[in-house]
């Protein structure tokens, strides 16, 4: 078995129009910038994939990453908890113009919906959002005298994530707080592609230290010395 992929363009070749695409990261930490930019390259060259639904905690920052996808016109809908950032212009413009849809989900509910999809649990009850406008239209159940809102799993066609070490079996580790949504998204997608800073042979990662077991990962592409979204935003970088 060898899940390694030779190039970034090969890694994003099978993401279709209208796909639900999970993108790992929280703000700039753990964001797979090179995979996102490879997808933008493909869109600019071929017009595909378009009309994507993107799942991320945020909705892009500055003029790179998810913000650059939105600017390019590839994204029809964002599912996120916090579509704001130090420079949220890309999303804000499209949203105010009615050109992009938003499904706003409380952050813990977003994480659990993704986890539930990965774990094969179609719905669950949470106290989060009871009695608020984000619970409108959702079933409410009472358990031990307290009300809870029913939330459904959130599945994806493809997840793209950023990891630190990855072996050819797809076992992954993460760097610092870059873990965040990445391990959950690996579980919830039909197909998961990880960019890793170091591609290693099986056995090179101590099994005690594997965070995402390879069963959740379909492809691994090595990106040495990856770019960091927050650093790029602070430099005023633009991806076109």
């Amino acid at each position: 078995m060898d899940k390694s992929i030779a190039s970034l363009s090969d890694a994003v070749a099978e993401i279709d129009d209208g796909a639900v695409l999970m993108i790992g990261g929280f703000g700039g930490s753990g964001a797979p910038i090179e995979l996102i930019h490879a997808l933008i390259d493909r869109f600019k060259a071929t017009g595909h994939p378009k009309s994507l639904t993107v799942v991320n905690n945020n909705a892009g920052n500055g003029k790179i990453g998810i913000a650059a996808m939105i600017d390019a016109g590839m994204v029809a809908k964002m599912i996120c908890s916090f579509p704001r950032s130090s420079d949220p212009r890309a999303f804000t413009e499209k949203y105010m113009a009615g050109e992009i849809e938003l499904e706003l989900v409380p952050q813990g509910t977003l994480a659990e919906r993704i986890r539930a999809a990965g774990a094969g649990i179609p719905a669950f009850y949470t106290p989060t959002s009871v009695g608020t406008e984000l619970a409108e239209g959702k079933p409410v159940g009472e358990f031990d005298g307290r009300e809870y809102v029913q939330e459904r799993w959130l599945k994806a066609d493809v997840a793209i994530v950023k990891a630190e070490l990855g072996d050819t079996y797809g076992n992954l580790t993460y760097r610092l707080a870059g873990r965040n949504f990445n391990p959950l998204m690996c579980m919830a997608a039909e197909k998961t592609i990880a960019q890793v800073s170091h591609l290693v042979e099986p056995g090179a990662i101590d099994p005690e230290n594997v965070v995402t077991p390879g069963i959740f990962v379909d492809g691994v592409v090595e990106v040495s010395n990856p770019q960091q979204e927050e650093v790029l935003v602070r430099e005023g970088a633009v991806y076109e």
Binding site: S81, P106, Q107, E112, V130, T132, E133, R179, L184, E230
Partner: protein, 231 residues
């Protein structure tokens, strides 16, 4: 201490944060909301150790790093660079919110637009305009064992922030148990505001006049006394 528009003394933000910090027990696991509540960490009581949780998957973080020493993979929920204390840990987002919803956090301290007398909190949006963003606030208010709020007692134009019923969209229902304001410490018990402490220079009646619902506890309230602190 500074003066309000009506020449009432009031606490500055640092003093409100200091007062909230006095109630954090040794060994507590604490989540501080983005912005004003983050100040509480500066006034941790000597001899007590609190462990700070941040939604994006870190327990046991410390102060911001020196300028230029930031590692932007190591941030808090406010997307600010942090450092780690010995004994820190990383975990994914579902575990992070299991800590929250599962009742493992001792205290969450949040900001507020309004708090109602039955403990409803409104702190995520003020109307239907603009881009809505909720983050982890709705999860935090239903998870921590104690949910407290830091706020000015009244808005900039003098309107009460402690009210009978919130008019802004709710973050959570019946979740807040204590409010630290620029004038008082107010508990929420059985659907009522119960004064715990007030600034000694303000009369109960003046405080009632700046509060949007009935205040009880006139005879049992203590004095709210803080050190002088620069904002």
């Amino acid at each position: 201490m500074t003066q309000t528009g009506e020449n009432f003394p009031k606490l500055n933000k640092a003093q409100i944060a200091w007062r909230a910090a006095q109630d954090i027990e040794d060994g507590a696991y604490v989540n501080l909301g983005i912005g004003f509540p983050e100040l509480v960490a500066q006034y941790q009581v000597e001899g007590r150790e609190a462990i700070y949780h941040t939604e994006n998957g870190v327990l046991g973080f410390g102060q911001a790093p020196e300028k230029g020493k930031e590692d932007w993979d190591l941030i808090n929920a406010g997307k600010k660079a942090i450092t780690l204390k010995p004994g820190a840990s990383f975990f994914h987002h579902a575990d992070s919110f299991a800590m929250v919803r599962g009742g493992h956090l001792d205290v969450a301290i949040l900001g507020a637009f309004q708090v109602s007398q039955n403990g409803d909190l409104a702190n995520w949006r003020v109307g239907s305009k603009g881009v809505p963003a909720v983050g982890g606030a709705m999860d935090l208010v239903h998870g921590a064992k104690r949910v407290a709020v830091l706020t000015e007692h009244v808005t900039k134009d003098g309107k009460p922030k402690l009210v009978e019923k919130c008019i802004f969209p709710l973050t959570g229902v019946g979740c807040v148990t204590r409010v630290y304001t620029s004038l008082a410490v107010v508990d929420i018990k059985d659907g009522r505001f119960v004064l715990h402490e007030k600034l000694p220079d303000i009369s109960f009646d003046d405080l009632q006049a700046m509060t949007g619902a009935e205040l009880t506890g006139k005879d049992t309230a203590g004095d709210l006394i803080t050190p002088d602190l620069a904002d």
